[in-house]
Symmetry: C2
Subunit: 228 residues, 2 copies
């Protein structure tokens, strides 16, 4: 489903070039559950942003479902994102003065094929799945850090994407809530979704079928969990 | 150094009252290293905001160094904060289009007793202590999540506070970087600072002299680590 080849991504800061990703190549097959780990600054978010069509590589090829993302227009990329990809940002990116319910409904707001009633019930369902049924009318600034993180998770599920990209989706959750979220992801995986899960928690990495480790913008390790 | 008695804190959302803290009472002695744990939404950030003089309780007393915070004016509270408390926010609160260096210098910007040169060298020292010497001129949006978290940590140290309040200061850091930050906190503790460290990571809780556990706004557990 994903094929990336020799992806480079650098940023320019003043006179310096920061190489966030250096010749990264791999393939992800439909239905895989892949955890991505690596030290702070190793390139995980940069990689996920490229895979999520939110950022373009400096060079290299990205094929999603056989389609070249590089050759797409900005509008085509936005369409791919809204139809195929659910993204959970490391910093959530919730709308500030907006309720949890409205934040979760957002991806379906301009979808003409979904009525307001269906949109609302899907959003309530997603909020229940992350344990926030009693917080639906709280605005983003009236939620705890972990509750905000879970709103971001619920929002990523609402348009029923085939692929979920999660950038540290449990970084602000206690152990028990983290495992509840992991169990949710395992259910989604069992339903056939492809999941890429960036995490700093090595315990969570045991639950995936495959582990990628980044270091200084390169793939240090790409291994399959043989007991899964 | 800290004495809180029967602290209540509720928020009003629509017609509902959310009891974030319910009759919380404890004392913290100078030089203690206390970890605070609890499930998402249990009241940890609310408690830390009150202890950091950023929020006032709905009722109850808070004495810091023998002074009643409730009876202080807004200006007096701001003075206590800038002189005695270093705060690391769960969502960092960095200035967006501003470099790491400028963000760390901020608490000393209006301190007439510190020259621009001393301020800059202190900021560079703090950034080195968190491993970001090579990122000082990056703006906040040019940093990874864990790098932003570490800028927030460096900023909290620069005015040499006697008390550090850290709200999930390692939530976005990989294991090795987390332990580097923990070692930094242990050095600061050895220098005599009082540290309150909210964390979701039970492994880190072993490094403190005392553990508080919150649940539904109450203290569930208050225990001393006998092997430390
Ligand atoms: N401004 C607010 N208005 C209304 N409710 C609030 C507000 N701030 C916090 N709450 C509620 O108070 C409770 C405690 O919030 P708090 O942020 O202290 O939790 P926490 O323990 O820090 O959680 P986390 O581990 O997820 O960061 C939560 O249930 C939250 O929804
Ligand atoms: N917009 C940008 N401009 C300049 N440098 C950047 C930019 N975004 C990221 N970087 C740099 O690229 C490197 C990789 O960043 P990235 O956010 O991908 O790391 P990460 O692996 O997600 O880290 P973390 O675990 O801390 O979130 C970092 O060293 C960072 O400083
Ligand atoms: Mg990141
Ligand atoms: Mg919190």
């Amino acid at each position: 489903i994903i094929k990336i080849e020799k992806i480079h991504r650098y940023f320019t800061v003043g006179e310096e070039r920061v190489h966030a990703l250096r010749e990264v190549s791999f393939q992800i097959y439909p239905g895989e559950f892949v955890t991505i780990m690596g030290t702070s600054g190793s390139g995980k978010s940069t990689l996920l942003n490229i895979l999520g069509c939110l950022d373009a590589p400096s060079s290299g090829e990205y094929l999603l479902d056989g389609q070249s993302i590089r050759q797409m227009s900005k509008d085509q990329r936005a369409e791919v994102r809204s139809q195929k990809i659910g993204f959970i940002f490391q910093s959530y990116n919730l709308l500030p003065k907006t309720t949890a319910l409205e934040n979760v409904e957002l991806p379906l707001l301009y979808n003409a094929s979904v009525s307001a009633q269906v949109r609302k019930s899907k959003a309530l369902e997603a909020l229940q799945a992350v344990g926030l049924s009693d917080r639906v009318f709280h605005k983003s600034n009236q939620l705890s850090g972990g509750q905000q993180q879970r709103v971001a998770i619920a929002r990523s599920l609402i348009n029923n994407p085939i692929m979920l990209l999660a950038d540290e989706a449990t970084g602000n959750l206690d152990t028990r809530t983290s495992y509840e979220i992991l169990a949710l992801f395992q259910r989604l995986h069992a339903e056939g979704k492809t999941i890429l899960f960036v995490t700093h928690n090595p315990d969570l990495a045991r639950f995936s079928s495959r582990n990628l480790v980044l270091r200084d913008g390169r793939i240090l390790e790409d291994s399959y969990n043989t007991d899964r």
